[in-house]
Symmetry: C2
Subunit: 514 residues, 2 copies
């Protein structure tokens, strides 16, 4: 057994079922080993941003890591943006990066690069295997590291000769540390704050947004009168009829500050203190108002479910008493193609069990209210702020949950970063419906230009924010990668196309001209 | 004047005429400054790999740096692959990366990332501005660093508040160090080796491949009987009728070893010792045969022109005596669509002054012999081995040389990494003809799988190397980004399409089905 074969067998034994791959020469022995050692589904992506984003989407829905397979140096570089997003989502991922053979590195061949240097900013764990004998052990450690709370991108760098050399040894995944229990002092402090009722807000993130943990949070709110809110961006949020409905902190700085302005006590549950996405002149970076007492019940690495259960018990709340969202759909809308009308289409037609990947950026800011009462669904967001995750994220989510409809809400500017993942959707016949919001601009930046105080933009500045010259044709782009697509310019056409897409079990894209 | 305005004015004064941009919120003040301070042409790209590759192509043809404008952290990440290629091409580039405001970084907002860590592996110079007052000075230093031999990616990280704060000061570019003169001992040693004639080979790279320096090398070869060869991958190589014709070291390891096997004395001129692109089991990493004396006349940072002139003088060679390539075009071919026939089409039709961007990978290995006698042209290659440079490179080259025809030879697998740059070609109405070699596979990896000794690939492995399910439709992809395109499946159709493309002055793409 060579090192590559020990890697694949260790991954299989360790519960890794899927590998999103874009390999090169230095990874050829790993590719060959995937033939000889059965048990892993290989999903080819045509760009590494697709690999990383798909592995992220898979992890969010499967609750366990996929492997990646990336080419040395710059191949890893192409994955960095979506690895950054995955790191911010706290998604478990076994990120496998090939490299030159150990003895070849010092020749400084053209592709030689500093893999550790590139991996460090986006990885929670990094290791370089030094021989075929230790590849299995290192892979087992990578699996464990990826699954250690709160979830990590674990990057394993494999020189080519560790793959092709004999002596590989399959290893067992070591015990994974349990999430840290929250001390009773934190429970007591949170209970005291919650009992104050109005003026106290629980800020929820990470696994505080599962259905069960939302029930606990909802019960605490029902019992004490405290408020609930979620972070501006969340890896996965359970929503819809039967769930405890929670709003998010808005993205625009003034709305965010307004949402929190009357909060006296902010209790953090499974996330970090709320901050502005960017700095804006004259505006604070921390969103909690001055004088607000900010305390942490549970960090993302803590036992969030245990903390919420203990807090519920401390205040005498029972999960069954949580106020759950009633089933309620808006009427199918008529009239102009505006954000609220689109939200009504989603609210009216979202199917039971839908997985919504939301990279809508500006277009989607009003989607939450009208989708709240739709059948139970999951809502996945751009967690790290690096646009270009939606199409890959939907791809990975669909691989993880083949029985559910994935609906990807995609801004046109963002979609262009990683459009190649549409091809993977076609190749794997994934059940993904993509809606591209074709406003033909970096619309968000037009707002940001004002928000940062850069007044009176001229032609050069506006040209840098406009995608209308030439207009992108998303139907042709999708068709060019084997994905069925239609363009709609009216609400009626959008409704018809959405209904058509719901009947498909293969990829379907709707270009929604705004 | 704020920091952003001082940046733009310093760039303008320092001779930077073009900025390839994909900005975000933290760069909005720089975008606004581009309106208020005239003198820079802004070229928008929809993905940062396009930005970096275009700035590289611009630098190769303009001989001076363009600026980039990249979004913080992951935006830089998306550019890394083509920054790596630019570093290997030794292209000057002022790589401007925004970042959070200085005081915002420690809040760890979602986009917070280690910009220096990401920039280090791909930059020859890095600086982070600390206040508006020093932005101009830092930008001037970045220009100087980028232009210091052999050419560098100079990364300047600009926190948002250094842009929007008043107090910016325009700075003058400091003196740029001249390339290092080569000592007479190196000239003497090279002259001694050259005079040995057969058995001596000059390995040329970087600016040793300009027309003038090729003349000197050709004169030395004509006088002494030594041989000339170029590196496997070169940033820019002057070729065609009237130039000294030089072959390249082949990419496949066995051919590379065979090319050098009889060399007794290898003299390096403007490059580094030849090495295998990858390690292959049982094959050496260094390409020079055992016992071959390898010496360096000039490193890439040295005065290459001066060294060649001194060497020519030492051996009594005169540039006018170089053996120059005669004008000679192959007949237009008939028959099957094979690599040699395609080469004949290129050789027969390449126009005077063409700029050939070559990311043909396997398809293009036979292109050199039949294009040697075409009218004078430049040949630009993938220098760093990170595929996905061709479309951006052609974009930047066309911006730098609007009066010349750019012909981009593009492998389909490689083209998919950065296809977004086609949109920029359409937007800027650039004179680029793209030929996509649609073999619908990572053909190179099929060879590499064997070359590294991974025998008998099975279905999983072959699936990872095949792009035919579904087949990409490059006509639709190009049209979707506003680029005119045709598909050809016969040589006759290719010839017709090529002639059509030559008549266009706007982007034109030919999908060549192989």
């Amino acid at each position: 057994m060579n090192g590559a074969e020990s890697l694949v067998q260790t991954l299989v034994d360790g519960g890794v079922e899927v590998c999103f791959a874009n390999p090169g020469t230095s990874e050829m022995h790993f590719v060959a080993a995937l033939d000889r050692v059965p048990g892993i589904r290989c999903v080819l992506c045509l760009f590494e941003g697709g690999v990383a984003g798909a592995a992220d989407g898979y992890a969010r829905m499967a609750g366990k890591p996929a492997a990646t397979l990336l080419h040395c140096g710059p191949g890893l570089g192409n994955a960095i943006a979506n690895l950054h997003n995955a790191k911010r989502a706290r998604s478990p991922m076994v990120n496998i990066v090939g490299d030159h053979a150990t003895y070849h590195v010092h020749y400084d061949a053209p592709l030689t690069s500093d893999a550790e240097g590139l991996a460090r900013p986006v990885s929670g764990w990094i290791k370089r295997s030094t021989s075929a004998e230790v590849v299995g052990r290192d892979a087992a450690q990578a699996i464990a590291a990826s699954r250690t709370a709160p979830g990590n991108v674990a990057t394993l760098i494999l020189p080519a000769d560790t793959a092709w050399t004999e002596g590989g040894q399959v290893a067992v995944v070591p015990d994974i540390a349990r999430p840290t229990p929250v001390p009773s002092s934190a429970i007591d402090a949170a209970a005291k704050a919650a009992r104050e009722g109005a003026g106290t807000m629980l800020l929820l993130g990470h696994t505080a947004l599962t259905p069960e943990n939302l029930d606990l949070a909802g019960a605490i709110a029902a019992k004490t009168g405290c408020k609930l809110i979620a972070q501006v961006s969340n890896a996965r949020m359970a929503r819809g009829a039967g769930r405890v409905a929670v709003d998010r902190i808005p993205y625009p700085i003034d709305l965010a500050l307004g949402t929190l302005k009357d909060v006296k006590r902010l209790v953090i549950v499974g996330t970090t203190a709320p901050v502005a996405f960017f700095a804006y002149p004259g505006k604070p970076s921390a969103l909690a108002p001055e004088g607000c007492a900010v305390s942490t019940l549970a960090t993302p690495a803590d036992d969030i479910a245990g903390a919420l259960a203990a807090l519920a018990e401390a205040v005498g709340a029972k999960a069954k008493d949580a106020q759950r969202q009633a089933a309620s759909r808006p009427e199918l809308p008529k009239g102009a193609m505006k954000s609220e009308a689109i939200a009504a289409v989603l609210g009216a037609l979202l199917p039971e069990g839908a997985i919504v990947c939301d990279e809508s950026v500006t277009t989607g800011r009003g989607f939450f209210p009208l989708t709240r009462g739709a059948p139970a669904h999951d809502w996945l967001q751009l967690t790290g702020g690096s646009i270009g995750i939606g199409i890959p994220l939907a791809t990975g989510a669909a691989v993880a949950a083949p029985d559910r409809k994935v609906i990807n809400l995609e801004a046109d500017g963002s979609g262009m970063y990683t459009l190649q993942a549409l091809w993977t959707q076609a190749r794997e016949k994934l059940n993904v419906m993509t809606l591209v919001w074709a406003n033909r601009s970096y619309q968000i930046l037009k707002g940001e230009l004002t928000a940062v105080g850069a007044q009176n933009p001229g032609r050069t500045a506006l040209d840098m924010l406009s995608l209308d010259n030439p207009a992108l044709n998303w139907v042709q782009l999708a068709n060019g990668m084997g994905v069925e697509a239609v363009r709609v310019e009216t609400l009626e056409a959008l409704i018809d196309a959405f209904k058509t897409g719901l009947k498909r079990t293969t990829p379907f894209l709707i270009e929604v001209v705004l």
